[in-house]
């Protein structure tokens, strides 16, 4: 039995994110989103993190999860109840004070039987749940799960389980067969299913023709007692193993159920949080991977929404088939937010979640990756630019076609010309390799050079700025301008104009690399 709520077909084990996701989480601002999904449950946070950061799905798999998610959003109380049931069941070991990490067969058998007795109660509750919610769900994931619970955990089955658990107490002693091995001691022990002995056969045992011989230990014979225990252990070793493995399996089932249902409950939490804030969510439309679709209406950064508890301004994006999205424009004009919105939306879409937009249509990516500006390398092993190159080199090892690489102010730690050259080489080869690049940059030579290409696969955005210098935080499609309006901010802070002017390309005055 498997829950199969995350994947329809063959079991793939627990989702396992790649080891290098720490930067990604930080760059995209994922922690607040996970906190909203957890809603105070540390386990749910872990579940949400694992599923969200796992390798992307196929369009069919995305659809499968979205269907289950629809059910869950419609019946949040049922999902909460199922999660509670599964989560409670996973505490069986603790409840019965069972200890399987022992080398005593008898202790293993007693502990696992106790765990199984506890779990049997929860299996029964699970069966009750399935009967109660029969016919309520529409997704194939939840329908199939409830059907298999109804079928496989019926009353007859649970009665049989209880009967075996009773027999494993061995109230009549352990009966086994053996033969004499090389040292004339027993080998090939095999536990037998001996029916309880009625009183009249007990009487006939004493008759000589039955050839039965009994040895009673002398009083206080501890050594002999241990030998008897050892012989008994030979007999119950296998069945203790069977019981312990069964306990593990049933526990694993409940753990798995808690994990998979937990993911959807976490989605319900996030959905409730966003609804309170007034942020629109939509069921995204998955397209094939080859179509490289990416279109959104009023896309917002879900991280910003849950962090600020208000509905941010949305942006539109028509990037179907685009290989490069270049974002330039005013400082504090919402460029980084725009980049995060794209990254998070793709990540949630890839994992089968809803998206914070009015509409969202996309192809699954081959993973979302980030290369963001960093603070100075504190290990003093590399200079800052060196460090950027090192990180890019590591990233290049992980990028595959259809991966989405988000670059925020990459290579701005050196001078503009050199940084642009390096960045241009990298962007060109990434695009050639089929990686989809989203690049927020101040590097004018880079942006301008790429715009001159007039490549239809390139798309340019600019952080919008009204003439008075007030930001609207809207990102609109537009070619790059030669300034980032750092001078605006200079004025805001200094309340006076620049004293040194550097005239460039006939554009606005600008200080070198203001930070």
């Amino acid at each position: 039995m498997r829950p199969r709520l995350l994947f329809a077909g063959q079991d793939r084990g627990y989702p396992k994110p790649p080891p290098e996701v720490g930067d990604l989480e930080c760059d995209l601002g994922i922690p607040p989103v996970l906190d909203a999904m957890a809603s105070g449950d540390a386990y749910l946070r872990d579940v949400a993190e694992r599923v969200l950061l796992s390798p992307p799905l196929t369009p069919e798999e995305i659809d499968y999860r979205l269907n289950v998610l629809d059910d869950c959003l419609h019946h949040p109380d049922a999902i909460r109840e199922l999660y509670e049931l599964a989560a409670t069941a996973t505490g069986a070991k603790r409840r019965v004070h069972a200890w399987l990490s022992t080398d005593r067969c008898g202790a293993i058998l007693r502990s696992s039987a106790a765990i199984l007795r506890d779990l049997a109660v929860h299996l029964e509750r699970l069966h009750d749940f399935a009967l109660e919610h029969h016919g309520q769900f529409r997704s194939s994931g939840l329908t199939a799960l409830l059907a298999s619970i109804e079928r496989d955990l019926g009353d007859d089955y649970l009665a049989q389980v209880r009967s075996y658990l009773e027999q494993l107490k061995f109230s009549g002693g352990v009966v086994l067969t053996a033969r004499l091995g090389p040292g004339c001691t027993g080998i090939d022990y095999s536990l037998r299913d001996a029916a309880p002995t009625p009183w009249f056969t007990r009487l006939s045992d004493s008759l000589p023709h039955h050839r039965s011989y009994t040895y009673h230990l002398p009083p206080r014979d501890e050594y002999g007692g241990r030998t008897l225990e050892r012989i008994r252990d030979h007999g119950i070793n296998e069945v203790a193993n069977a019981a312990a493995q069964s306990a593990d399996h049933v526990l694993d089932f409940f753990r798995r159920l808690a994990f998979e249902v937990g993911f959807y409950l976490a989605c319900v939490h996030l959905h409730e949080d966003l609804a309170r804030t007034g942020v629109t969510t939509c069921r995204p439309t998955p397209e094939t991977e080859e179509s490289r679709a990416l279109t959104a209406r009023a896309l917002v950064d879900v991280g910003l929404a849950v962090r600020s508890q208000r509905a941010p301004v949305g942006s539109d994006l028509d990037a179907d088939g685009k290989a490069l999205i270049m974002v330039t424009g005013a400082n504090q004009g919402g460029k980084s937010t725009f980049l995060r919105a794209i990254g998070l939306a793709q990540l949630m879409f890839d994992a089968g979640l809803f998206v914070t937009a009015d509409r969202f249509r996309a192809s699954p990516s081959a993973g979302v990756f980030t290369h963001y500006r960093r603070e100075e390398d504190t290990t003093l092993r590399h200079g800052k630019f060196d460090d950027e190159l090192v990180r890019m080199s590591q990233l290049v090892d992980r990028l595959t076609p259809n991966a989405i690489a988000l670059l925020d102010e990459s290579f701005s730690s050196t001078n503009e010309i050199e940084g642009s050259q390096v960045a241009r080489d990298i962007v060109d080869s990434l695009v050639t390799a089929g990686v989809r690049v989203c690049y927020v940059t101040h590097l004018y030579p880079l942006a301008h050079g790429l715009a001159q290409q007039h490549d239809p696969r390139h798309l340019f955005f600019r952080a919008q700025r009204d003439p008075g210098g007030l930001r609207s935080y809207r990102i609109i499609p537009a070619e790059p301008e030669a300034t980032s309006y750092a001078v605006d901010q200079f004025r805001e802070v200094f309340a006076e104009p620049l004293r040194i002017k550097a005239d460039r390309s006939g554009g606005q005055a600008e200080p070198q690399q203001s930070r």
Binding site: L168, T177, Y215, L228, Q245, S246, F253, S393
Partner: protein, 516 residues
């Protein structure tokens, strides 16, 4: 020291010795050389699984040319995989028999002793039959193994052997059929015949929970430790079982009285001698993953030396060694003096040790650590190795070196091998050069082959027949040693020049990697 029996004529009461044609024990390796060549590590490894045989002296004794050839014949036969597998199996079988009988002798109850005797009787028969089959199936070249084959054929054809075989088989079958049923409670146990109507319990329990099974489950099966010996409870159970199966137990007692002692003495002796060969073959296998191989040397009648892919055994045995850079060496019959120079940690000492080990092992009739070798048999291997810097006592150091050199020079013949490692290093280089030149002159006069590891490049021009060898570095990265010692002129310059080149190269390489 145990004596080795001389080879008996074919078909007699004892098989020939596998190690010697004349019973002589040869000349033990000089203790200094044994330490400097790290031979103790080799011997420790060769005997590590073979403690019971007490073999150390076999591995450190130089033997006659005749015995070297005799041992080579056996090695050649053992090169056939079937022969080696068969003889290894025979050896393991006999070890097992010996160990089991020794264990049984310490047991308390007669029933268990007798039952163990029966068990190993079966193993003994199987081992000896396996040995006979192996030897019969192979085309043997060595007179040692041919003699053994004839003797073993006689052994298994004897009425006693055939009777042990037949009776043990029959008895074991009887015991195998003798199942009984036990019921165990806290303070009593009951034995009776098996009830065929009682099914096994564990499969039913597993089947019940089968539907929850996921993947490969963790095993909770316990290793239940049965003590080797039975106690009073098990003795009681065995005695009850004996009442259920009285004939089997009576036959067992008769069998034991009839066939004790089980293994004939000559077979035990042969099995012990076999360890000399198996130990080397096992060692060769163990070092194979490190990219090196062992071989039988080709014995030269003159002083010609030719080594392909020779390696230092001590290095190969070190666990941390992953890969070994083996070395070649070619010397003409007249080239008696070799001077090895080159950078520190470049493999000079390893090279000298390798040469010493090869000559010494060849003279014991063993496999040698090289892909192929042609070398003369030496009468002695002597070493003067620097023993680490002792700043407090430089003068004492030098004095020790001088005393040792003096002692050695007296006994050298033209069949000796001398290995010098940084000798006279505890003095100024002018003095070391003068003393070194003196020593080389004396060594040349002795006719012995000498290999001298030194930091003094000047010594490599000692005379026209002096061979200069240098430990190499990579041409484009002098910080990396090749650990290969090559025949060429000693010039300290190449290293420094290449080092200057290196920095530019590394910087470019780094840039290329980052921008690609």
């Amino acid at each position: 020291m145990p004596t080795i029996a001389p080879p008996g004529p074919v078909g007699t009461a004892a098989p020939p010795s596998l190690l010697t044609t004349d019973g002589s024990m040869g000349q033990p390796l000089d203790p200094e050389a044994r330490r400097d060549l790290l031979v103790d590590r080799l011997v420790e490894r060769l005997t590590s699984q073979r403690g019971e045989y007490d073999l150390d002296h076999w591995f450190t004794t130089l033997v006659s040319a005749q015995d070297v050839a005799y041992r080579h014949e056996v090695f050649t036969d053992l090169r056939m995989p079937d022969v080696r597998v068969g003889l290894t199996g025979f050896s393991r079988g006999l070890q097992h028999v010996r160990q089991t009988l020794a264990m049984a002798a310490t047991l308390h109850y007669e029933a268990e002793q007798q039952r163990w005797f029966l068990q190993v009787a079966r193993d003994y028969v199987t081992s000896v039959r396996g040995l006979a089959d192996t030897l019969r199936a192979a085309t043997l070249r060595s007179s040692a193994l041919q003699g053994l084959a004839t003797w073993v054929d006689g052994c298994i054809g004897s009425p006693r052997f055939e009777a042990i075989d037949a009776e043990a088989t029959e008895l074991l079958e009887q015991f195998g059929r003798s199942r009984y049923r036990v019921r165990v409670r806290d303070d009593w146990v009951e034995v009776r015949p098996v009830d065929p109507d009682e099914p096994e319990l564990a499969p039913a329990v597993l089947a019940t929970f089968e539907r929850f099974r996921q993947g490969a489950p963790k095993s909770y099966l316990q290793q239940i430790r049965d003590p080797g010996a039975m106690d009073h409870v098990e003795a009681a159970i065995a005695s009850f079982a004996a009442r259920l199966y009285p004939q089997a137990f009576a036959a067992l007692t008769a069998f034991c009285h009839r066939y004790d002692p089980l293994v004939p003495e000559p077979l035990t002796r042969v099995e012990r001698e076999l360890q000399f060969y198996l130990a080397y073959l096992d060692l060769a296998d163990a070092t194979a993953p490190k990219g090196v191989s062992w071989s039988l040397p080709d014995i030269a009648s003159d002083h010609e030396l030719s080594i392909r892919n020779g390696f230092d055994v001590a290095l190969a045995l070190r666990e941390s060694t992953e890969h070994i850079a083996p070395n070649d060496c070619e010397l003409g019959s007249d080239e008696r003096l070799v001077i090895v120079t080159g950078p520190n940690q470049g493999g000079k000492t390893t090279f000298a040790r390798m040469l010493g080990q090869l000559h010494f092992l060849a003279a014991t009739g063993a496999l040698v650590p090289a892909a192929s070798t042609r070398l003369p048999l030496v009468d002695r291997v002597v070493t003067i190795f620097e023993r680490g810097e002792n700043l407090d006592d430089l003068r004492g150091h030098l004095r020790d070196d001088l005393i040792r050199a003096h002692g050695i020079l007296e006994h050298l013949t033209d069949a000796s091998l001398v290995l010098l490692n940084e000798v006279y290093s505890s003095t100024s280089s002018d003095d070391a050069l003068a003393l070194g030149q003196d020593l080389l002159t004396r060594l040349e006069a002795s006719g012995a082959r000498s290999v001298c590891v030194t930091f003094l490049d000047e010594l490599s021009h000692h005379s026209v027949t002096t061979v200069s060898m240098v430990a190499g570095v990579h041409p484009d990265d002098p910080t990396r040693r090749t650990y290969r010692v090559e025949r060429r002129r000693a010039d300290g310059l190449a290293y420094a020049r290449a080092l200057a080149q290196q920095h530019g190269l590394t910087a470019e390489a780094l840039l290329r990697r980052l921008l690609s």
